[in-house]
Subunit: 408 residues, 2 copies
């Protein structure tokens, strides 16, 4: 969990590829860790212990004896180094949407007289929904301007209060230059909020180095925390004492067990906790994050870029019907490669039926997440082979593959 | 899960006392189900299946194949009859605080020109914190007036926009008359929000009959959903289409997989879903709720009142140092009996050390939750015996019992 090569006590570097530490069937090529990370091998026992021993035996005493009270903080400490955050700047719990609501409402209070929230029309739609809902609630003139991806940076002007962007585009995998955009926002007097949903755990994020104001991210994608795992948020230390939380809960009170009728925010990041966290889901995330104990994130990024380049080459050589939707330059990508195909949905269904699991995003995007922790060159070549066969033999051209079901 | 006696197909009524369906050690007398319900016996296997088979094997396909998308709705359908709610009026997910934030922000929009939010100074502090945080956020003149418990009803006047109350007082167990207070609120033109944290699963709640506007409640107390289980909210059908959610998330969008950049709320209660729900925690709650499949809530309430009366009698007869903090009349109590003692904290620690588990609330309240599903007369007599011994022999008067740790 470092940005430079760790050398364990035995003098050997831990191998990055650790598929044996996931419960992933041998015949599955899983390229959807950007949507839902697979099950780490140690999670089932840890969750079973939380259910039987902590809840079952400790009962209400589990809050102290099993450390449930400290669990959000423990998980936050694991996430901070993954995203280049200072110590005690991350809060874990609630969904990504609720976390975005929390930091965006803080940013509104810090924004001064400006009223424009600038975002990317290709941002996660849910991020735009949250901003829309919040501005409608407060009725103080804030409004969201969502511009085409390539027009956002040049629109950062002195009328912009808040820039709200996702570092890695969920469809194309294009990665924004966090440092340059953050500097541009600050140069114009704006606050910036980064969504790290497709960044955290995929490559080294450098929030502190870049001077980001706020960030949010997701626990169930590259962090492998399980379906609907609790999310996280980041508050730069310079803002920590500058606002009172909009969602004020007892876990963020300075003295939760005094049961004061008045809210007094806890010091620092603790105040961002609101209600009681979902302990079972949080336990799975905590355990999943141990996989990062000895991962060098720079090494992880390099491996991902290499695998991505290999996939692009293997696909483009043989599948002329596919159009690369991701940046060709590895340095401009997150940890995902996407292609366009007019029958993308059916193609992905055909692939999944053959145990090559990626996903589809409307209108025509095939997404392939690349996670070197459990994906190697053999997997990438196999996925490209199956994709080639599906297209060559029009295996996607079956009614069963065309019928839409919900796909995440 | 009915309000009148069910007759199973075999012609026999299921016994209400079903301790064998919980994993609760024989030597434990658990009187804290009002804080954290014990572990239902079927939950560990169900959660293990969700982890290994659903997440592990189905991977991202679990959203469809394992029914994760439908899980919040499935759980909501289980909760509705427990609280006397119409079909499709309950939404499950997020914490109680976030749910209160959701319904209170809806109520603000429906409130008209009035700006006073009336509450009880003895309400859950966290509910007051949420109201405080929300009013500070919106800056539109709303303010909270929290009056002493007994003064609230007479203060419901034509300046009150919203009445926000908890049906059962968390310290004393005093139960408000939901119908009378709701009618008083409506007669004065106010909206009413009920917190059912200590009601749901304890006795028949009658939201629809009483005409309540909104409600929230907790999954981990009497509903036994596990630590930090997802919470729920209720929106009366007449309000369902009258507002747009303040926390607007993709799960509440009319067409989540269209990935529209604009938010269009789903029809009815579905729009109250926000971000991705914590599936593992939600699975535990879903399984726990099966315990209510054949519970007659009126029978449950009658059994609870009988046990409560027995406890009060057994304690008052022998423990003159304890002062009853709950209403003596069973009809005015929720499913809990509380006593005051100047050394309440130490007394409770001594009790817990002897496997009689209740809890303590500052400054001097000993709380005993009563759940006839796993508590019978023998348990009640035993608890009273141990309490008597602890007081008679001053067993609480030890340094180790006086030192405060966090206790929920």
């Amino acid at each position: 969990m470092t940005h430079s090569s760790p050398v364990p006590a035995n003098g050997e570097t831990a191998p990055l590829y650790r598929r044996h530490r996931f419960l992933l069937a041998d015949d599955v090529t899983y390229l959807d860790g950007n949507s839902l990370g697979p099950l780490p091998r140690s999670v089932p026992d840890r969750v079973a212990t939380a259910v039987r021993d902590e809840w079952g035996d400790s009962l209400v005493k589990g809050w102290n004896d099993a450390g449930w009270f400290g669990l959000p903080t423990k998980v936050a400490r694991r996430i901070e180094p993954l995203i280049g955050a200072e110590s005690q700047t991350v809060s874990v719990g609630d969904s990504t949407s609720v976390n975005l609501f929390k930091v965006l409402s803080a940013a509104l209070k810090l924004a001064g007289p400006r009223r424009r929230i600038l975002s990317d029309a290709g941002n996660f739609p849910s991020d735009l929904y949250v901003a829309d809902g919040l501005t409608r609630l407060v009725e103080s003139g804030f409004h969201v301007t969502a511009l085409p991806c390539e027009d956002v940076e040049s629109a950062i002007g002195d009328d912009v209060a808040i820039v709200m962007l996702t570092e890695v585009d969920y469809r194309t995998g294009r990665r924004r230059d966090m440092k340059a955009v953050t500097e541009a926002a600050h140069a114009s007097g704006a606050i910036i909020i980064w969504d790290l949903a497709h960044s955290a755990g995929a490559f080294p994020v450098r929030l502190a180095d870049c001077g980001a104001d706020f960030a949010v991210g997701c626990g169930y994608k590259f962090l492998n925390g399980g379906p609907g795992a609790p999310a996280f948020l980041y508050v730069a230390p310079r803002h920590a004492d500058a606002f009172t939380p909009a969602i004020a809960g007892w876990m963020g009170h300075a003295d939760p067990f005094a049961f004061d009728s008045s809210y007094r925010p806890a010091a620092g990041i603790q105040k961002m906790q609101a209600g009681t966290p979902a302990i079972l889901s949080l336990t799975a995330l905590d355990e999943a994050l141990t996989l990062y104990d000895d991962v060098d994130l720079c090494e992880l990024q390099a491996a991902s870029q290499k695998l991505g380049d290999l996939f692009i080459e293997a696909v483009e050589t043989r599948c002329p019907d596919l159009v690369l939707a991701s940046p060709r330059a590895a340095a401009e990508r997150g940890s995902q490669v996407s292609f366009r195909h007019p029958q993308g949905y059916a193609v992905m269904r055909a692939l999944i039926d053959r145990n090559v699991i990626g996903d589809f995003r409307a209108p025509d995007i095939l997404r392939f997440g690349i996670t070197p922790l459990y994906t190697n060159e053999g997997d990438i070549r196999h996925a490209a082979d199956v994709l080639y066969q599906v297209l060559r033999d029009r295996l996607w051209d079956r009614e069963a593959y065309r019928v839409r079901a919900a796909v995440t």
